[in-house]
Symmetry: D4
Subunit: 241 residues, 8 copies
């Protein structure tokens, strides 16, 4: 653009041409370019590929388009996808429980605060692990306590120090999802609730915990999509200090 | 029937006549009569009229058919219904919060155990009061603690003795309904959960707490219909000793 | 704690130290410990593992943490899980229909009352069997009548004595779930209704019978989650005398 | 059309004209006219106006278009509509409970069979009455038994002769709607089930009884729309002999 | 019973004994026995086994309990079930499209009227075939026209004679289910609508056609459960003359 | 912008300043301004105010911001809103049935094609009228046929010429919404379907016709929101020639 | 028909016979025949077979009935269906991504306008491709831009010329489906929105994007069924010039 | 407690007594007391009363229990509640649009970051205002831009600086709720989405925007309950620096 204006000043191109050019400039040249650069710097988290419903070929094609100095996170992958990715990206790391692949090129600056990740049950662990991988890749210290249960709410007292010391808390729960309410009632820091689709009967693939968490009477609780561990980890990271 | 058989024996009526009569006898004479008498004696709770959707005229007509030595409970009534009932049934007692009318003719034998009735919020009180009226009319000692909240789950510790000493517990809660899970996790006695239609947004007129309670991970919790305080009080009474 | 206080009295540790220690004591030492001991004694039912959505490895890991003198119940298991469990727990018993494994270390004191378990159809039997296993492990005498059907409601009259003599009744039904209403209308004892996800079309994986049972006009009926045979057996046991 | 062809034969109009005319003839002249005449004769039931959501002016306008020798039925009307209709149609009869107006010009030939109309509760009566009005206007003998209840299913035995003697049975029920299943199990004649929107909580404006009736295990039961007493009366009439 | 009364008259047994016996008599001896015999005679349709969700072993066990001179219909079976049944019931006939097995022991008296069975699409045929098998086994003459489509509603005119001549019409349709409305608008005979779960997107496993059929503006249409071809065939048969 | 560049060329402002300015220019100066001018010219339809849920004060405030040479359409208004608007906009025209106010400042160029607007019932007329007002304000010739009914589908044949001659067809229907399918099957021009919230029972405030229309088997049918007559009129207008 | 009338004129057949014949003529001879010919000519799109839920045998049978000089489109097919079709229709072309087979016999006249097809994500491509195949077979020029994303809405600015130059726009999107709203806000031409069933959690198989698109605030957006790429391509084609 | 231990040391009370006392101490004395003090200090936000569904008497009673040096916020109030509160709390301030009452006793320390609050439409303003009141009472600087619209997404560019400079963003939107996705795609700071129940048709009282926001593809977006402006303001406040 600089050149364009200089050419105009020097008389190489007429005013009408400049005006026309300006109108058809891609947005990157006009201030919005800053957005993406901004993002990378401030968030320290360049690019994520949601792999469910995509073929391995599509995933590899998308991977090729990512720039080679960014950190990459692939979510909802299986072992077979990993095997294909591994061939081309030697340093790709697979987390089977979290169903993620990480290709790490640089280390984010560590944050001071801790993110505490809790699950109500054992079956909620994969979703929680997706949050863990996401948060760690973004430079957070993560502490995790799994399988607390609601029926054993008094067990929360054993971890009360962790609850008070965490800077952000993620609660992953299926079935009735009440753990989010209870933790929200004890904690003074933001709680991010993740409903999961585990369970049976009237849990209706995550609708029951979603509604429970939505109606949470405790202040300071917000909700992300069912099974969206990545979203919770990401959100927690941008509010962690 | 006794007479029928005696007449038959004495020859007054032939065998064919007896057989025909037996086949068309109303069921009350044939063993099932025992059911209703049984009920009254064992349950101590004769007749309930659910008044929502009924005109005052219909309610009075139904009242007339009830026998005059039974206790009567009318639920979901308003003041105007009460005024009409009062004119004909002098001893009718109105509970405005519970929206009930009681016409009491005899005192049930008091039961030993206590029924503890808890609500999560202030708006759940009318439903809880319906349970209180029902349970007391059936001879139970009722203890109530309202407005506990889930956000303040640690407040439950103040009433832990009540929870441990109760014989049956009724938990009335709208919004996310998580109180039932929490109490179910602490108590070793049966918990009856009543979802309420109070709340707003994604509580969807009681669907949210209903699903939460249905998916309750704590053992020993069963659920009755949304806003069904009467049903909870009744069920609690028949399992109270 | 006793020692702590004695040391304090003898002057070994100062008052400030005692106060600090008391505040960080795990809750087990402070009254709540009583809960769990209480539970085991009064309920006679130590530990259940819900196995759906858990890997065999996770199930074995959880099993290891259970104490070795308790009775253990695993629900929603399949044969392959059983084969793995069997290797380490010789006395593990598998009930294929109920999809349960029981590891029994002691015999609960038998209760006086009988629990009657009814199903509407043949397909409801697995859920009913889960209730049977649960109730028997908790010391109850169980009587069962399967495949009654609603279309053949007059057949209920053949078992009217069982209905009148039972102390608690569990009704397991899919499709329209009307059996719970009918039994609730005949019986004077508590009825626990279990909707099942069998059926097709507008039964919507158990929503239809769940709603039917929720709206049950008969008094004395409470509902547990879809397919939750364990919950019904457990609830029945704690109200059985 | 006859004239057209005669004119053609006599040479008054050419072939091309006849062909053109035939193609643009209104369908009434071409075989389908028979439908409507047919209908009236065979069904004995000319014209119904569903009045909910229509202004009184619209209703009167539609009434004007009906032919003056037919029987007219207006459904879901209120008193104010009746007052306006009455002024112009002196013999209009209002049924307040059924919310219907009938303008009768001729008497249908009475049918031999009886239609039995049952309701589970008192609040279901308006819908049942709509069915009664409809069926009677179509020449049927109607017998009605209201407020049977499901909780008191054994009461059905008092009316077993009515059930066996009816030619068609209409069951009107809200809440859990189980009465349809039970009657369907006893009767050998067709049962038409009408869910009603009365009730509260999880009856969800008629969804609960609709699903119950849909999933009805008894053979010989079909369902019409929620609160559609007219549809039930009409369907019953065309299958009654 | 006759003998009982004669023994009583002759003094062999006292009055008290007779009374006691009468009260514990199975209902079959008391008028209701007539029901089942009645049913078989009037309906000409003894016993149906709904096989979905049942094991082959269970199906064979139920088959064994059926009396050997009745006609048997098994619905929602697959080839493998048929192979097992065939071994023990030589004359079992399998209809792969309808997914039914028929074991026929006697021929029902043919009825005069015809049942017309229509489908909107090709994918609705299995459900329609279930209705065909059911209706034919019950002595009806069945005429079928498949794959009419709604988009080609003018094609209905080719079959208008079939529509006018049929005594009962069954319409089987998925997706938007509008065919039932259209046929209901043309026909003067009862129309039984069967929603099917075929389709994709917003047909939601049959909910869309179910709602369409429920809201059908044409009179004379009633609905059975999603995919319930048997129910439609049965209902059509009992209203066919 | 022209001036900016000229000042730059003449040396009045330096290059850095120009670059900075360009980045903070409001989008209107950069090509997107064309959008809005474009819109007005090509669509001939400047501004619509959806008034439901807005106070009269808010509506008047929004009106003030509209430019005074545009045509304005207010939808979902009542008489009281009109009275307030009328005081300030003398030429405001109210259509009570359509619940619209039109303030017309210029006449759009008439389009050649005709838009045919059909309703299934009388209660669908207000939504259809909203479409009529919208389409006419946008320069379309509108033909309307109301109250066709689905039950009387053969009546469509009377208007077949209108269907074949229209350029676009709007079908407004509540209850089962099948009219859209039928018209879609006959017509070769685009059909826009508008579900309405009229009806009762299982029409569920428009969900039933919405699903029916969504699942429409006829090609050439697209759907707009429940009761969205404006959207249908608008969409029809931009595809009309 | 001509012959019929001539025979009548010449006296070969009497008037009564002519009248009778006219009434039973198939509709094709009476004006409606024009419909189908009309369709083919005007739409340039003869016959589509929706293959989901149909066996290969059924598909081949339907194919046989199509006339051999028409273009045929088969949707929702898999490779195995293609292999069977290929054997009999040598020129059948398979599009694996779109899941379509095309048998092309003639080339439609190309249209002037362009249809722009956008997808929000990679997983929406199969549905978009179905639209592409459909639109191209109907003579349209198609331009496609896939994987725009909503999160990267500013990227739309790169394709703003395509948006302004297209004659019709199809937006295919799952998850939250917001792309349709955004494009609808920018474009002045009709936008056809296609929700897809990709995604997870609270996207509920396409319900979330369907509702989003339905509630779209931008004017000029209409919606087709979930995953219905064919319907979108078809609708776009008949409104393209 | 201190005294208890001293008395024990001095021999006034025996060891057994101390142990017993410790077990029955209210939780406030045991470390949890710290929670509540903690909360007040760190959150600067003592007590909120949700007034919907509560009587004025109940609200006043709850108010009385609040301590007199705290800030109080009452939400979902109407003018009549305000008039009653005003009489006893002279400094109570009413915000009619937000439907809140604030009783402020101290000023929170102002935070550095800004919270930006956006609404899609005019009808979303009351919910947004509730968030404004909440956030301001908690010491935040709030900037607000209302009525952005989705259809006019390009208008977002006018406020891009506000979006980039805000520390937290709250997006309030009904109907399709797509604004949250779009803002989420532009911003690098946390976005809190609030669905509102405004709108009509298929917005279903807020379900449509709730699902849209849940499925939001942009990272960094979390959701609170429908119409829960308070919750959004509160959550924004605790993550604002």
């Amino acid at each position: 653009m600089k050149k364009l204006l200089q050419d105009y000043k020097s008389g190489k191109i007429p005013l009408s041409k400049v005006l026309e050019k300006l109108k058809s400039l891609p947005y990157e040249d006009l201030g919005f370019a800053k957005i993406d650069t901004h993002r990378e710097i401030r968030k320290g988290f360049p690019e994520t590929i949601f792999c469910q419903g995509k073929t391995t070929a599509q995933i590899l094609a998308i991977l090729k388009k990512t720039s080679c100095d960014q950190n990459i996170l692939l979510t909802k992958v299986n072992k077979s996808v990993y095997n294909s990715v591994k061939k081309q990206y030697r340093n790709a790391r697979f987390n089977e429980s979290a169903r993620t692949i990480v290709i790490q090129r640089w280390k984010p600056k560590p944050k001071k605060g801790t993110i505490l990740i809790l699950t109500a049950g054992t079956s909620d662990i994969p979703v929680a692990e997706e949050a863990v991988v996401t948060a760690e890749l973004m430079g957070n210290t993560v502490e995790k306590v799994y399988d607390i249960g609601v029926a054993g709410v008094h067990r929360l007292f054993d971890i009360k120090d962790k609850i008070f010391n965490a800077n952000v808390i993620i609660v992953v729960a299926g079935m009735e999802g009440a753990l989010a309410s209870i933790v929200g009632g004890l904690a003074s820091k933001p709680v991010i609730a993740v409903p999961t689709s585990v369970g049976y009967g009237a849990s209706f693939k995550g609708i029951a915990p979603l509604l429970t968490m939505m109606n949470c009477c405790a202040e300071g609780v917000a909700v992300v999509n069912i099974d969206n561990g990545f979203g919770a980890g990401y959100f927690a990271s941008i509010i962690n200090r």
